[in-house]
């Protein structure tokens, strides 16, 4: 692919939400507008690389998309009535070109589009799919490939989501006050989920399986540009950058995962770390501290340490204390227990874990078992550690994680007394490959 074509693609991805937002703002009817803007983007992708880029790409796309929309509406119902309806529904100012010195108003439109895609009536997979399609400008086939489902399944999911939005009426006014905070939280959660989904062990061809982590960073960066003063948006962007910076060290050439403690920190992306630290340092002193900012701050402390031993664990523990207070969650509590073990020793960590294990949903969770195994090993109780690693491996559903945990169990039992029979049969069944690691 020539760079020219790549540039056109990047430009189109950037313009996609703006074009769709402009159309929905003018004509309503999310479903039809989405089809029309997809067609316009496709036409541009075909024509621009060879025929040259128009002087005003955004205007070109909106014009072409509007024409396609008219074509669709004409074919749907009697031409005259529909055109009249649209003409009446269109504010006069929208029919005129904007004055040359006008500020582009696309920010609000695109933001409304993002809020609409994360509508509370939609299930979380639908929010994600619709956001990637309407705001991210990815094709249905690309989204389906990224989530490992057939294209037909994803098409259905997106089509249902569009219908739901259509049924409840696409509200293009930005919510205000408490509702705005609530809806923005949903938007951030969707972006966070997209980023997390991006942690696949294999890097697919960017054209067929887009790098979802990169896509999430791109969208969050854009959201941060629209809402530069929102601490949690800044926090989420920083968290993504600081976590993604470790990507080069997180996998071995065979695709297996390397845990944080064993990563070659020379490979971390220093430019991304600097950007993330600058963002979170600027956000933290202002206003209310939220969970994304705290998680970013924790990631920053890890990223600043040259070695695992240099890690400022007391500071991490302090941040987890805060995080547990404002956003309590079993996994935060578990991470805090690990920090307690690093600061006050494995026995103190095991005490915290014991209280967590008393609660049913966590008691049998593989991450609790793995953390307990690690502390038991540090405390010198190898048998208990091996048994917990074994149990954790059985309960993990991620293949790389199961391989890593199984390896830890066999490592501890090779010269010990526990026989890892369960692991071996399980490993044979899942055709386990080379060893890999859990946390990173």
């Amino acid at each position: 692919m020539s760079t020219g074509q790549g540039d056109v693609e990047d430009l189109l991805r950037e313009l996609a939400p703006q074009v769709l937002a402009a159309l929905v703002r003018r004509y309503g009817q999310f479903h039809l507008c989405e089809d029309a803007s997809q067609e316009a983007l496709l036409a541009a992708a075909l024509q621009w690389p060879s025929g040259g880029r128009p002087e005003n790409p955004r205007g070109w796309l909106i014009t072409v998309a509007s024409r396609r929309l008219m074509d669709q509406i004409r074919s749907e119902q009697s031409r005259r009535t529909r055109e009249e309806l649209i003409a009446i529904a269109t504010p006069q100012s929208e029919l005129l070109g904007p004055p040359a010195d006008a500020e582009p108003a696309d920010g609000d439109d695109s933001l409304a589009l993002l809020f609409g895609c994360c509508h509370p009536d939609l299930s979380s997979p639908s929010q994600i799919a619709l956001t990637l399609r309407a705001v991210g400008g990815l094709s249905t086939a690309q989204i389906a490939a990224a989530f490992g489902v057939p294209e037909a399944t994803m098409a259905q999911r997106i089509s249902r989501a569009k219908q739901t939005i259509g049924d409840s009426g696409f509200d293009f006014s930005l919510p205000a006050g408490a509702e705005r905070t609530e809806r923005l939280r949903a938007v951030l959660h969707v972006l966070y989920l997209i980023f997390n989904e991006g942690y696949t062990a294999t890097d697919g061809d960017a054209l067929t399986v887009p790098a979802l982590a990169q896509e999430a960073i791109r969208l969050t960066r854009w959201l941060h540009w629209l809402l530069p003063d929102d601490g949690e948006v800044t926090g989420l962007l920083a968290l993504m950058l600081l976590t993604d910076a470790r990507r080069p060290a997180r996998t071995r050439p065979d695709g297996s995962l390397v845990p944080l403690a064993e990563q070659d920190r020379q490979k971390w992306d220093q430019a991304q770390i600097s950007e993330g630290i600058a963002l979170i340092s600027a956000a933290l002193p202002h206003g209310e501290v939220g969970p994304y900012q705290l998680q970013a701050a924790i990631a920053a402390v890890h990223d600043e340490a040259r070695t695992m031993a240099d890690t400022d664990w007391p500071q991490i523990l302090g941040l987890y204390d805060l995080l547990e207070r404002i956003a309590p969650n079993p996994f935060t509590a578990l991470n805090r227990a690990v920090a307690v073990a690093m600061v006050h020793g494995p026995d103190a960590g095991l005490e915290v874990i014991a209280t967590l294990a008393a609660e049913k949903p966590m008691a049998q969770h593989h991450r609790l078992l793995a953390a307990r195994a690690h502390m038991q090993e540090l405390a010198g109780d190898t048998d208990a550690a091996a048994a917990d690693y074994l149990d954790a491996a059985r309960r993990a559903t991620s293949l790389p994680e199961r391989r890593y945990l199984a390896l830890q169990a066999t490592r501890l039992t090779r010269d010990g007394t526990v026989r890892p029979e369960g692991i071996m049969t399980r490993q044979a069944r899942s055709a386990a490959g080379p060893a890999s690691a859990a946390d990173g």
Binding site: S123, G148, V149, T153, Q156, R160, T200, A201, T202, S398
Partner: protein, 120 residues
């Protein structure tokens, strides 16, 4: 997360259903399939051919070797399988419980292993 659902049966069991009840039974299953395909959560649903059509395939000295079998020790064998993709295990279990004959025979439910890293 993806999940596999299996239901089991055998000829004896199916033969016990009167012929006139089959259309209603099939309609029930079709309705279930359509319902969850529409939500995008049911990826595939297929019934399997009879036990006598099943084969065992091996490779011997680099050549494929196909024999009859498996000769099952269990009385019932896999009748159909369903692949789900759901937001949570809770939701997938809900769908499993909604299977047309879950009130008669249990649905076997298996979480599917995947390559993705589960969290940060």
């Amino acid at each position: 997360m993806k999940y596999l659902m299996l239901i089991y049966g055998n000829q004896e069991k199916w033969a016990s259903i009167p012929a006139e009840e089959w259309p209603a039974a099939i309609a029930k299953q079709d309705a279930f399939n359509r319902k969850y395909q529409a939500t995008g959560e049911l990826i595939v649903a297929y019934g399997l051919a009879d036990e006598v059509q099943a084969k065992l395939v091996r490779r011997e000295n680099g050549q494929p070797a196909v024999t009859d079998g498996p000769y099952l020790e269990t009385k019932e064998y896999i009748a159909s399988f369903y692949l789900l993709d759901c937001e949570s295990e809770e939701r997938a279990l809900q769908i499993a419980a909604d299977m047309p004959w879950a009130d008669v025979d249990p649905v076997e439910f298996w979480p599917i292993m995947h390559e993705a890293k589960p969290d940060l």
